[in-house]
């Protein structure tokens, strides 16, 4: 019985191939402060004219997943309709002392830390309800973090289409090449979500990968 279930799970991609959904639910994942909300806002501003939430320099600004349904992206005559899920940043540790450095009171910092832990759990739970992932990495940081390795491993295990977004290429020490070298098995698109640099390449890659 276990073997049958394992085989069914393994070959579920065949069913997906023949019975394609007319709408894909795409999750935006990544560690805190990688630019997930900035990217979600960029996509929504470009295709719907509004935004999903406010980004912040303080880590764990997004502590609840936010869903925006029915975003239509048109690239080279091809239309892709997606639901976007902006997820809280994933982390293996959350220390409220880190928030004190941003001028938060101890009470606010502790509340933020508690909500952040709940946000991480919510982000992990969302993995079961998605059809594709945009994994946002800060191109100025070392990509070999446990969070990145765990997300990639889980997406591979679920056989979900993945697009790695090497964000913040407008910064001088950004190195998308380091991300490509770390995860050579997956497509990497270098962008600046904040400045909109190379964003058309991302839409093209999304249409190819998720369309």
């Amino acid at each position: 019985m276990g073997l049958l279930l394992a085989l069914k799970k393994r070959f579920s991609f065949l069913a997906k191939l023949f019975f394609k959904k007319d709408k894909m639910r795409i999750g935006i994942y990544g560690p805190p402060n990688a630019g997930k909300t900035t990217l979600a806002n960029r996509i929504l501003r470009d295709w719907t004219g509004d935004i999903i939430g406010s980004p912040s320099d303080i880590p764990h600004e997004t502590r609840r997943a936010r869903l925006r349904e029915g975003v239509r992206i048109e690239v080279d005559g091809k239309t892709l309709t997606i639901d976007i899920v902006d997820t809280p940043g994933l982390a293996t540790k959350i220390d409220f002392h880190d928030f004190l450095r941003y001028g938060l009171s101890e009470e606010e910092a502790k509340r933020r830390a508690k909500e952040a832990t709940e946000g991480v759990i919510e982000a992990i739970k969302w993995l079961d309800d998605l059809d594709g992932i945009l994994l946002v990495m800060d191109a100025t940081e070392d990509p070999f973090t446990q969070v990145n390795v765990t997300i990639v491993g889980n997406i591979e295990a679920r056989k979900l289409p993945l697009l790695i977004v090497a964000n913040k290429i407008d910064l001088p020490n950004a190195s998308p090449a380091r991300i490509k070298a770390a995860f050579p098995q997956h497509p990497v698109v270098p962008i600046s979500a904040l400045k909109g640099i190379n964003i058309d390449s991302l839409y093209k890659a999304m249409a190819d990968r998720f369309g």
């Binding site: 073997l3 394992a6 085989l7 799970k9 393994r10 994933l90 982390a91 293996t92 540790k93 959350i94 220390d95 409220f96 502790k110 830390a113 508690k114 832990t117 709940e118 991480v120 759990i121 992990i124 993995l127 070392d142 070999f144 973090t145 446990q146 390795v149 765990t150 990639v152 491993g153 889980n154 591979e156 295990a157 770390a182 995860f183």
Partner: protein, 118 residues
């Protein structure tokens, strides 16, 4: 005899991990790490177990004594044909410790450098 000060390292063999269920492994890891110990797993965890470990860690963070974990592991290697069919993905050597004691210095495809604070 003079008592030796230091951080306890628990090295768990592949065979022992193979006999444990996912939940047993995760409970053993978290119980040890919360006591300040460093756990070294010879065969590591599957990606799903890693995600579950993060979830359980988040539930147990108390913002005073336990602020989370630091995990050091290599990325997955290419899978064999059979493991691709049956979805069995074995992890690689993994080191897990309390976040306030274990710090990653450098991580590459096949080398991990970490610092343990005594």
């Amino acid at each position: 005899m003079r008592r030796m000060e230091g951080v306890q390292l628990n090295l768990i063999s592949k065979e022992m991990l193979g006999r444990m269920s996912s939940m047993e492994k995760l409970r053993m890891i978290l119980d040890n790490v919360k006591e300040g110990k460093i756990v070294v797993l010879e065969s590591g965890l599957t990606p799903q177990e890693e995600a579950k470990l993060i979830e359980l860690t988040m539930l147990e963070i108390d913002h005073e004594n336990f602020i989370g974990i630091e995990v050091e592991t290599y990325p997955q290697k290419e899978q064999s044909f059979l493991s691709k069919i049956f979805g069995r993905k074995s992890g690689r050597l993994t080191v897990i410790g309390p976040a306030n004691r274990l710090k990653t210095l450098e991580k590459q495809a096949d080398i991990i450098k970490a610092l343990v604070q005594i």
